[in-house]
Symmetry: C2
Subunit: 300 residues, 2 copies
């Protein structure tokens, strides 16, 4: 946008706000939206893990929570925060950054069931085979010849059932995780407002082609401030999980990862409720008056 | 238990507490657990509905939330509380009590997309075909000859995609919905403690073969007290959604159903948090000293 505007000498400033629950943008400590997703995933797998453990002795032993995140494992990693001591759910995390190895996966699940009675798994939808193919798309066709539509979780469940013969359940969080304002992280909400404010301030001082950023000054206590980064260093770069954020076996997060993630889920920011339900603002989406002459046209 | 004990003249009192998130027990206004599940489902479909509506113009137009509930549609019905005015999500609810009619379903989805821009659906896993078969089990076999494992939501999504050509997403709540203590209904929590207390009191006055119940005295304000019911009137009875709780077209809840459901989700009962995560009690599960002589044996 800013390049096109400059080329045509149009008075447009392009300021970017790093909103994405994928948390995969460079040059910012985190992306608003992610902290709340992280909190939701950690809470959800903790809760489901307790549910599973309560009946694992006589019933379901394996639970799989599939989370969004096609190429970067940040949202799956966040589930790891729920595991504060050995045996806590989730016992296994599957990242898109770690190529899926069925034998090692089954060994990890079986070890958890044998040692702790059950196994709760957080699986990123972007899990890949050695071929680079998404596991969820490699599972064959159904009776009608369609690629399996069920996603990754049922596929993993099928592998667990066939090879280990454990009863399973699975959940697919999908939009629920990124829309869960009811359990938003207070830190995330503060950062969302802060980068919005920073973007307006960048515009007011005449900047363009920049992204408002969050800069971490310390982990504990978490100290951060807003900054800015040039957009050409941001576009088309995908920040994946560093290898040292993932344990050697590939199935959990390291302490270094915890130090990064933990501050982002701190604090609760409950919405107002009435009649038992959260009240959310609906934007009027009223356009501001047009400023540019309408005779400008973009030419290819 | 109480019949066996009486037969053998064992001093065992059997008092039942109506815990089930399915809400399908008779002779009690509701079952502890259900109010919180109801709140979770209503909040979740409201949140996902906003997410969907925000991008429906250019992307996904249909969202399906699959909820647990094999034979009774109470948890799916609860989603209906999120729809407070025309156009609010969910626009379509699928109950196990209403036989699935593909043509009518597609017409309802299409009408919602055309009128409101999108369609959010809450679907009970127990949805049935005219044959009585579960829709989720009738969908054919995959390439390996297994029954489709993906559940109902992907099947409905496939129908929507093929027949209406709308982009879809789906979530499967599974254990997340029944384990979501983080957004428990205060009313539900109060009732859970109340029936536990009532059960102990029934035991203390020498009762057996009874279930502690919740008796509704008025809808608005919601006034209730605990009571009791004979167990032989409870066992093997499944309380389904009455027909007049479901709209004539079969796709939503009536005002009568709202009057029943709404009180059950009132109030929030947030758990304590530390380090960004809820702290849940882990029971010690220490057995009380054995009172009965060990020489008793149950004989077939």
């Amino acid at each position: 946008m800013s390049q096109l505007a400059a080329e045509r000498k149009l008075p447009i400033q392009a300021i970017h706000v790093p909103k994405t629950m994928d948390n995969d943008l460079p040059l910012t400590d985190t992306c608003p939206g992610f902290g709340s997703v992280a909190k939701y995933v950690a809470i959800s797998i903790r809760e489901a893990g307790f549910d599973l453990a309560s009946m694992a002795k006589t019933s379901t032993k394996v639970f799989i929570l599939e989370v969004m995140g096609r190429h970067a494992g940040w949202t799956a990693a966040a589930g790891g925060l729920a595991a504060e001591k050995a045996g806590d759910a989730p016992q296994v995390i599957l990242f898109p950054e770690v190529v899926f190895d069925e034998a090692k996966f089954l060994a990890a699940v079986d070890a958890s069931v044998k040692q702790y009675g059950s196994c709760s798994i957080v699986a990123s939808e972007g899990l890949k085979l050695p071929s680079g193919e998404f596991l969820s798309e490699a599972g064959g066709k159904d009776a009608f010849g369609h690629a399996q539509l069920g996603g990754l979780a049922p596929l993993l469940a099928q592998i667990v059932s066939e090879k280990l013969n454990y009863k399973y359940h699975f959940a697919i969080a999908d939009y629920l995780m990124r829309a869960a304002r009811h359990i938003a992280s207070r830190t995330d909400v503060e950062q969302a407002y802060a980068v919005g404010k920073a973007a307006v301030e960048l515009a007011l001082i005449g900047k363009s082609s920049v992204m408002a950023t969050i800069e971490r000054k310390s982990d504990s206590p978490y100290v951060w401030e807003t900054g800015s980064a040039p957009l050409d260093k941001v576009a088309n770069v995908e920040k994946k999980m560093p290898r040292d954020y993932i344990t050697a076996d590939g199935f959990h997060i390291t302490d270094k990862c915890r130090r990064y993630l933990s501050p982002l889920i701190q604090g609760e920011d409950y919405p107002p409720y009435s009649n038992g339900l959260p009240r959310y603002v609906v934007l009027k989406n009223a356009a501001v008056p047009k400023k540019l002459r309408t005779t400008f046209e973009l030419k290819k």
